[in-house]
Symmetry: C2
Subunit: 692 residues, 2 copies
């Protein structure tokens, strides 16, 4: 039941005062939304959110996502008022080196922050992923509990800004949330009609509430301006949130009409207060309006703080009640409890890798096996032993080979299709043609904590989801991006679909592993290694076209894949005169070139090089054993721009690469016309030897 | 008035037959939509579109955008049937090397193709840009004509697929199209409810028509399934298009409910027919249904062709009538006619560069001038002499410094805000927080042909619009991306906002110029050079923070910017012992390091290196004069990953770079903590000298 006293009013105002003071102190930041959203955020943290400030990792907690990440103070202030490990000094250290209060909320840096936000739209889309995860995790751990009765049932709350809703990715994710009938997702839209360019009437005039209704959401409205005068109405917010919780078959959208920067006398309702300090005069004037002493900063009445921090008791009580139910669940479900413990530790089950397939060598000159097909076999082979592994494609399931065949799709049953039977706890996700949302949903799933998601599309469309990939890397999330059709080798679809610069561009992302296996067995080792590395994301680049499965009695073991690069074929006849490095489908060209060079008496080493990042992690001894500094004649072979290879090529090296866009034709023609051939490798090797 | 005979029915069926045959011949492609959209596309090309197949560049033409680019045959077949330079042999050469009929339509490759499509959503968003351009161009050339009476009035038609509407970017652009009241834009949605993963019920269940109504669009529906039996109804399509044209104050959205692959007996209404050949049996069965000979391929009845190609006469007549009006316009508007001729030739006016400002050197130790601020001054200085230059920001106008101050914004007048007075022919665009749409709208403006657009955001958010940047490069469009806040130098907003890998990742894009000027005068030369290069896009990376404006009596002229890299400060005391290369805000660190190295007797050359692409275009003599191969000791300084610099560094070189994400703090602290300092440059120089 809603309760509100004068102390709550003062706590709300305290939130505003701290926001103003913090921004004023550092001289920059975003005070306006933190001021006007204070009553909404306070109501949520105090009276709605199931959380325990003394245990920010409590598995039974609701999740709160501040999609409007620029308004980080909205959250920092509530963390402080709610009794999280967040002090007044922390707030005063806003946006300074090493503080708990960076410009935008950072997951893994500040307790109580569920997701790193700031790039607009990303928080909301990640929250959709959390809502997915909550359902799937419940299905793994407590599938038979009645709705709302499981210890794993909880809600995901989002505060979104105008900017979040202008970004297309929020629309992608919200449309999908409607399809998925995510009753556990509630979005509050701060409809303040001001963005950095001031009045949003210049760029944002749609009927957003009607748009959300069109997505199939439950839509409500709270209007603080409805009475003519501006009247903040926490009860109306509370009631709307309760009504939203009562709707369990649809996500909820609550439009809250506010005035940004309320009640700053001169700067409220302006773009200026969105992203700049108010200035001393305006701060003082606002403090006077709020009945605060203009001469004091970071001034919190102990009574107000004590009142607000009563939420700690509320949280402990919720937690304690939950603990009892949780223990009952554990007793009744010992196997699932063991699974939960394993998943929480992000450990893989003992001996799981035995489920990985080994692939037989294909016949020379035959069709080979596309690495995307090998990947599909790997996924289906390990699916039974790794229930935490799930994922899907942005409408390219058959092309990406990412469907787990033996299980239904993750879908409300009524959304089942002939091709894809669905179940709410199903395993294969269908993102639709929404690559960016797919990436952020995968991030949200990983953030939620227990499962290991993958999201698939063509490598070219990693461009659409690049900001999601970056956020996965920044947050060190174990998300796997499956990118098939990884070169001009996709053939006829032409230059709009042929990645050329993507491999190098993705290798530039700090904290991302880019892996491009050369054959089916490297693909298996790639998946094994990716899954063992639970502390960071990976992108796996896979071929459309068939490539040879190499005979590993003739060539080195595919286990070398885990080290990023390895000697695939040693030079015959002594020390290598040249080293040919290749990734993916181009390894076969390196092998063919080596044969010719060896026939001409040139000792040639072939290095299979599936991952720059994994190789760079090896110790110097290993790295020098693969690429001895004394062998300066080197060639790289990859059907893409060479930018990322120059480090390994050195001054004498030569790249066989593609420095321009592709074309529409069968892939063999393209390789020939663009000079990605064994001949070209031989010529490059000879040139490099000459210059070494 | 609509007219239709049995020959038209046969022409529609001919379109289907050719689509099937072409895909069958090459063995892959997308027949389904081309089959079912045949009556829609035929009606459009025959009876609605104002075009002259004998002059695909006719300025008075309507624009047709096939956003569903995978269904390229939809357009190729109409180009053939309409009498464009497209033969039956061309269609039979679908998706083969060198043909006019690549897998996806390619602008600049095939006459009659207005835009390269394939990446879903991009066509529709580019079409919004074309509709913007049509209004702005009319404003420049014929502002006083009554609505619909100008020779520059025309429509932009789009055919969009389910996938186009699932992609967020189409939502971004469509919301903005509503705000802009683009009465000249008409979108036909092929609502066939099938995508690659078959039934779209698994991922696309929203009420899309209601969503477009929420955007403020005029919405109509044509349902070929309405009568129970499937009945294609070209008249209903025609009538809807006429009704859409009659609505001049809003864009129009026409939902056309079709069955993909109609009338293939077994594969219609399946995902299989979306992207694969039908197979010989299904082709034969479909031919029988259509009354065609199953044993014949690419079989076109001359009567049908002659009937369809009557549209040539219709087009010539439209063109001739237009020519008369055009000549009257030219006579009455000689100055504007001269402007048109100049714009069509993509020439800049004589002496325009005299309008560029020169910036005075700032005081040592002073605040300097941010290059974004310099860029804003440049834009406002050249705006009066270059009316074709216009652009805007994705809600960061004040931060990007991209507003042309003296002119109103490009807005319906009723959308004016206090900060931004608007006019339908205005100059500054407001994209809202929609970076991807901003990029594609800019592409569409450039494709429309006459003006020179720029689109601005923070460099970090180039990630959101990367697919648009790539399409600009692929299409060789003169679009300028203005990317400010180009490093950790933006400070407190933290790692979500600090670009680290973006410069290298963008340099990887073929055909894109990335320019990062070091000071205000380099910024002016950068703009000059970008505008002179009308054959390709550029991205200009600019600082948030102040940087010194160098004294060019002490250092080399900023004109060297146009050559990509130049000797900024020569080594004292003979041949350089080390070369320090730097871009943007890091040039000052190179200069400071040089002072120390010179003081220690190390002759040190500083190379200002604003653009890799421009430098690579210089002849070998120039390049070797700047970077003599004999000087192997080299250092690069850029506050980002070093990947793109290794080519210039060579084996002995050392990078002062940032190989991890940033943090939230003031920028000076960040540079110090992350070791992007003059000290680090000195140390790197010494190390490089040791190893050279």
């Amino acid at each position: 039941p809603f309760s509100w006293t004068a102390l709550d009013d003062r706590a709300v105002d305290t939130g505003r005062l701290l926001a103003m003071d913090a921004v004023e102190k550092v001289g920059n930041g975003h005070p306006g939304t933190a001021m006007s959203l204070s009553p909404v955020a306070y109501t949520l943290y105090q009276q709605v959110l199931r959380h325990d400030p003394t245990d920010p990792q409590w598995p039974g907690r609701d999740r709160f996502v501040l999609s409007a990440g620029h308004s980080s103070l909205t959250q920092y202030v509530q963390l402080y008022l709610s009794g999280y490990p967040m002090s007044l000094d922390d707030i005063a250290a806003l946006r300074t080196w090493g503080s708990k209060t960076p410009g935008h909320p950072e997951h893994g840096h500040t307790e109580g922050i569920e997701v790193t936000t700031g790039p607009l739209g990303s928080g909301l889309a990640s929250a959709v992923g959390m809502a997915f995860a909550a359902r799937r995790e419940r299905g793994l751990l407590d599938p038979d509990a009645a709705p709302g009765e499981s210890v794993f049932d909880h809600h995901v709350y989002v505060v979104a800004s105008d900017g979040d809703l202008e970004e297309g990715v929020s629309g992608e994710a919200s449309s999908l949330a409607g399809t998925q009938e995510l009753g556990n997702l509630i979005v509050l839209w701060d409809d303040n009609r001001i963005s950095i360019e001031d009045d949003t009437n210049i760029a944002f005039t749609e009927d957003t509430a009607a748009r959300y209704a069109a997505y199939g959401w439950h839509v409500q409205e709270v209007d603080f301006t409805a009475g003519g005068d501006y009247r903040e109405d926490p009860r109306a917010v509370f009631d709307a949130l309760q009504a939203a919780k009562a709707v369990t078959d649809r996500p909820s959208f609550i439009r809250v009409r506010t005035i940004i920067g309320w009640p700053a006398p001169n700067k409220q309702n302006t773009g200026a207060i969105h992203g700049s300090a108010l200035g001393a005069d305006e701060v003082a004037a606002t403090k006077r309006i709020l009945g605060a002493d203009p001469d004091k900063t970071f001034d919190v009445d102990p009574d107000v703080l004590a009142h607000a921090q009563q939420v700690v008791e509320r949280g402990r009580k919720l937690h304690a009640e939950w603990d009892q139910r949780y223990l009952v669940w554990r007793e009744n479900n010992p196997e699932r409890a063991a699974l939960l413990d394993r998943l929480r530790a992000r450990e893989l089950p003992h001996g799981w890798a035995a489920a990985l397939p080994e692939f037989e060598a294909t016949e020379p000159g035959g069709k080979g096996l596309a690495t995307r097909a090998a990947s599909g076999k790997v996924l289906n082979a390990i699916a039974p032993v790794l229930p935490e592994l799930w994922g899907g494609s942005a409408d390219l399931a058959g092309s990406n080979n990412t469907t787990i065949d033996a299980e239904p799709s993750f879908l409300p049953e009524k959304r089942s299709s002939e091709m894809f039977p669905g179940h709410p706890y199903g395993r294969t996700m269908h993102f639709g043609v929404r690559e960016f949302a797919a990436g952020l949903i995968a991030n949200g799933i990983a953030l939620h904590g227990l499962t290991r998601p993958y999201a698939a599309t063509f490598l070219i469309f990693s461009d659409y989801q690049r900001a999601a990939v970056r956020l996965a890397a920044l947050q060190q999330l174990p998300v796997t991006f499956v990118w098939t059709h990884d070169s001009i080798g996709l053939g006829e679809d032409g230059p709009t679909h042929q990645p050329v610069e993507q491999l190098s561009a993705l290798r530039a992302v700090p904290g991302l592993d880019v892996v491009r296996p050369a054959d089916a067995n490297e693909t298996a080792v790639a998946w094994r290694t990716v899954l063992e590395r639970a502390h960071r994301p990976a992108g796996v680049a896979l071929t459309r076209q068939g490539v040879p499965v190499f005979d590993r009695t003739e060539f080195a073991s595919a286990d070398g894949t885990a080290r990023g690069a390895y000697v695939f074929a040693e030079a015959d006849g002594g020390k290598p005169q040249v080293i040919v490095m290749a990734s993916g489908s181009e390894l076969q060209l390196a092998v063919a070139a080596r044969e010719r060079l060896q026939a001409d008496g040139v000792p040639t080493r072939v290095v299979s090089f599936p991952s720059h990042e994994w190789f760079d992690e090896q110790d110097a001894e290993y790295r020098e054993s693969v690429l001895p500094p004394s062998v300066r004649a080197r060639v790289s072979v990859e059907a893409g721009v060479a930018m990322s290879w120059h480090r390994y090529l050195g001054d004498a090296g030569r790249a066989v690469s593609l420095e321009h866009f592709g074309a529409s034709a069968d892939y063999k023609t393209l390789y020939d016309e663009f000079g990605i051939t064994a001949d070209a490798v031989v010529a490059a090797a000879r040139e490099s030897i000459t210059h070494s």
